[in-house]
């Protein structure tokens, strides 16, 4: 039979690469699609940006105002100028340190919001429209698929918490004399980064696990908020009953804040049993979420 | 009861359509968006024409309860009451057309038997396979023994076995005197049931009637007749002499010959003596563009 297509099919001459980062294209494509709608981006990251700018100004002002104020006072009281300046600098750096830990604490809510909004549709929507058929018939296994999705949520969460935090830290370092902040208070940067990563990893796992269970994005959204609200309420009720110490380990927020009390207040704070239990509680929850995810993804792979 | 339906004028999705449909099976075909579903919904009285008038079994169909009892409609959408069993679903709908509970059960049972669904009649419909869902939908449409059955895409997505059983059910119903109007995307499916077609395109009636008669009207396209013969070149030479032949194509490697003529009847009249008198070894001869698919192609451009 004579065909009259004008379309032409051409073979592919090159080689298909088998690099281990097959999740990368999945992540890039998810990221590109998620950032296409500007309104959610603006609503979520607008406040984050404003908070970051305000915090930057405040860090800057702490150095200037405190430094100037303290030193003039010192001069008046007759101490020598150099040591007065040095003392003031140390004081303002301590203030900035506290400010940074507080900043991370405050921004954690944005981390939760961003992960929820951008992450809750990632798996359930694929399942709803059967897109996993297209993915799993390719050289992409469950782990690659998970990584692609996880890195996507993680990125959005990081932009809400970690990235602003690092900017503030950078501001603190650059504005301190001779980068003294890095030398003397550098540990806070490490610990606050680790703390932010804890938030990002745990929230992303919860969001993805709930997304893998939900039939569509809206339900997953409600599910994530329900999960956080319920666990908080659970702890509240337990607190009323005087059993807060124990039940707080069942709330991701409770655990994270307990960890923050230790991690961000270092070196002053002590690694108490309570903190340890918080780590265990959070770890168990993340483990549970990953277990659910593994089960659900296996089912998705087999449903091709 | 030849005068089954008549409607004039402009309706949603349809434009200035006038036609009559008779008994037996009539196939409703057309490309996507041609207005087939709109047309069927109009007949079933689900929507009202925005212009023009329409009579089904002599009555105005829109929201006409008396007519609903004489008409069965099987829509395309896969919408069942998932919790009900097949039996409950069918008897419930039969009751809606005005039967008592007992009668409804009896009719539903008989209909489910006809569509070969008795074994699963007491299972909830959500456990049904695709073929079973189609059949339960059909059962509710035929349970009250309608005079006219309107079915929208009944065979889509079914496997060949389910397809065959439904096809023979339709033929059976038609032989019992039910008029059936049936839409489909798959032309050979329609062809296996009937030669009577209605072809819609862009909301307009493009053709109606028996496929071969419709083909005869398309004089713009010459008839193509395909031969297989042992000596195709010799045959081509002989056919060249015939006045009505307008072109001949020989493909010698598979001994085929394609002849075009504008007057098929005349051609055949002249052909028989030619072949009878020579030794061409004709193994087959058939019209290459008389089937529904060719007619569809010529009409829908």
């Amino acid at each position: 039979m004579a065909t009259t297509h004008t379309e032409v099919y051409r073979g592919f001459k090159g080689q298909l690469s088998a690099h281990p980062f097959r999740w990368l294209p999945l992540f890039l494509s998810e990221f590109a699609v998620a950032t296409r709608k500007k309104l959610p981006l603006l609503l979520l990251y607008g406040p984050v940006a404003i908070a970051t700018i305000v915090a930057m100004v405040m860090v800057y002002l702490t150095y200037i105002v405190e430094g100037v104020g303290d030193s003039t006072e010192s001069i008046r009281s007759g101490t020598d100028v150099a040591s007065a300046f040095a003392l003031a600098a140390v004081q303002s750096m301590l203030e900035v340190r506290v400010f940074i830990t507080q900043f991370y604490d405050r921004m954690s809510i944005f981390c939760l919001l961003a992960a929820t909004w951008f992450g809750s549709g990632l798996i359930c929507e694929d399942r709803r429209v059967n897109a996993h058929l297209l993915y799993f018939s390719r050289p992409l296994n469950r782990l690659h698929y998970f990584l692609g999705k996880f890195v996507t949520v993680g990125t959005f969460a990081a932009f809400a918490m970690l990235v602003p935090g690092l900017i503030i830290c950078l501001m603190a370092v650059v504005n301190s004399e001779d980068y003294a902040f890095l030398k003397e208070q550098g540990d806070v940067i490490v610990y606050s980064t680790l703390y932010a990563l804890l938030w990002i990893v745990s929230t992303s796992s919860f969001v993805l696990a709930i997304s893998s269970l939900a039939p569509k994005k809206l339900f997953a959204l409600v599910g994530v908020f329900g999960f956080y609200m319920m666990s908080e309420m659970f702890v509240e009720v337990a607190r009323e009953m005087g059993k807060a110490e124990f039940f707080q380990y069942f709330s991701p927020g409770g655990n994270l804040f307990a960890i923050a009390d230790w991690m961000l207040a270092r070196p002053g704070a002590e690694f108490t049993d309570q903190v340890m239990y918080s780590f265990v509680g959070l770890g168990a929850m993340v483990g549970g979420a990953l277990f659910v995810l593994a089960r659900r993804l296996k089912r998705m792979e087999l449903s091709v | 009861m030849n005068d089954l339906g008549r409607w004039y004028g402009q309706v949603v999705g349809l434009n200035d359509l006038s036609l009559e449909i008779g008994e037996g099976i009539t196939g409703l075909i057309g490309p996507n968006g041609a207005g087939k579903s709109t047309f069927l919904k109009l007949i079933a009285g689900e929507i009202r024409p925005s212009r023009g008038s329409l009579r089904v079994l002599g009555e105005v169909p829109f929201a006409n309860r008396a007519l609903f009892a004489r008409l069965g409609f099987c829509p395309q959408q896969d919408a069942l009451y998932e919790r009900m069993t097949g039996m409950q679903f069918v008897s419930f709908l039969v009751r809606l057309s005005g039967y008592s509970q007992a009668d409804a059960m009896k009719l539903a049972g008989r209909a489910l038997e006809r569509v070969d669904l008795m074994e699963a009649a007491h299972r909830p419909t959500r456990t049904y396979s695709k073929g079973m869902r189609q059949r339960v939908k059909l059962a509710q449409a035929i349970a009250h023994k309608p005079e006219l059955l309107v079915v929208d895409e009944p065979l889509t997505g079914l496997d060949p076995i389910a397809r065959e059983s439904l096809t023979s059910l339709f033929k059976e119903l038609a032989s019992e005197g039910t008029s059936i109007l049936l839409s489909s995307h798959v032309l050979h499916e329609v062809e296996s049931m009937t030669n009577e077609i209605v072809l819609l395109h862009r909301g307009r009636l493009l053709a109606q009637g028996e496929v071969r008669e419709v083909r005869d009207l398309l004089s713009r396209h010459p008839r193509r007749i395909e031969f297989s013969a042992r000596s195709p070149r010799k045959l081509a030479g002989a056919l060249m002499e015939l006045e009505l032949v307008s072109s001949i194509q020989v493909s010698a490697e598979d001994s085929r010959l394609l002849v075009e003529t504008s007057d098929a009847g005349g051609f055949f009249r002249a052909l028989t003596p030619v072949v009878a008198s020579g030794d061409f070894g004709v193994t087959s001869m058939e019209c290459a563009d008389e089937d529904l698919e060719s007619v569809f192609d010529y009409l829908v451009t």
């Binding site: 065909t3 073979g11 | 496997d159």
Partner: protein, 310 residues
């Protein structure tokens, strides 16, 4: 191309594939069977998603049971699923290019191939449109394009013509035929529409209850005995029948000038029919050797298998 030996898949106690053995040659093959026969399970095994309980499968020499081959297998297979599986919010080109990258094409190659494939399936004008606005026909073609983006050796097409209107169906079938005949793709086509299979495939494998009940070339399966003819004539049918009787031919009249007849001695050509018609002053309208359609063959094979089981 594809070879299965005693392939068995158990889901608990349910035997989805029951010692399935078949050798499938290169080319286009139709995989037929009623719903629930095990076609989907077979596809899962071929994609390396489901490990067979016992037996082996080999596709182009690769064994889905070996871990190293599993992913390689999916590089040489293009899969077009039956269901709508296109992610809303993406454009056609985006989806195809992304899937190409996931399969291992470089960014530049993925983009080039994606554009070429969309051109090939005839979606050139819609490539930048969001998938939400695609019609059924466009979705099917896009699904074909994504299966082709990495230029696989082997295509698994699951109901590619589902939901298409006559024009869309024909276009799809032409593409499949072109891929198989001109571009050397090995095609495994699952379809409920047997005429589609007949048009595009050379070979069929029929499975039922997880077993192969028929396998062979369509040409052979549908061939009838020599000398069996379907004839249509117009004119004086009584005279024609008299001539047939005089020539002591076996025939049956189906009304309206349609006859089925068998020529003496399995004679291949029908010249004698023309002669008889000429003598009775009738015109021959068509003469065709009897060929059973694939649909008929399929149904009779299934019924036979059912009968054996009982």
């Amino acid at each position: 191309m594809l070879s299965l030996q005693n392939l068995e898949v158990l889901f608990g106690t349910v035997r989805a594939l029951d010692r399935l053995s078949v050798e499938v040659p290169h080319g286009s093959v139709g995989l037929l069977g009623p719903n629930g026969a095990g076609k989907t399970t077979l596809i899962k095994v071929l994609l390396g998603l489901l490990a067979p309980t016992s037996g082996s499968a080999q596709l182009a020499g690769l064994d889905p049971r070996r871990n190293a081959d599993k992913l390689q297998l999916r590089r040489i297979v293009g899969y077009m699923p039956e269901s709508d599986c296109l992610i809303p919010g993406r454009t056609g080109i985006e989806l195809v290019a992304t899937l190409g990258r996931i399969t291992g094409l470089s960014n530049a190659d993925a983009m080039t191939r994606a554009h070429e494939m969309l051109d090939y399936v005839g979606l050139e004008d819609q490539r930048y449109r969001s998938l939400d606005q695609y019609s059924t026909g466009m979705k099917q073609r896009l699904k074909l394009a994504q299966a082709l983006v990495h230029d696989p050796l082997f295509l698994l097409l699951d109901e590619p013509t589902n939901g298409l209107d006559p024009k869309g169906r024909r276009h799809m079938l032409e593409l499949i035929e072109d891929l198989g005949a001109t571009h050397g793709k090995n095609i495994l086509l699952c379809s409920h529409l047997l005429p589609d299979v007949e048009k595009t495939c050379d070979h069929v494998v029929v499975i039922q209850h997880g077993r192969v009940i028929e396998s062979g070339s369509i040409e052979e399966l549908t061939r009838a005995e020599d000398g069996e003819l379907n004839v249509e004539i117009s004119g004086d049918t009584a005279a024609f029948e008299a001539e047939l009787k005089a020539a002591s031919l076996v025939f049956d009249s189906r009304g309206g000038g349609h006859y089925g007849m068998s020529l003496a001695g399995g004679q291949a050509d029908a010249d004698s029919v023309f002669a008889l018609a000429h003598r009775s002053h009738c015109d021959v309208l068509s003469v065709e050797p009897v060929r059973s359609s694939l649909e008929q063959v399929f149904l009779s094979v299934l019924h036979e298998a059912e009968g054996e089981k009982d």
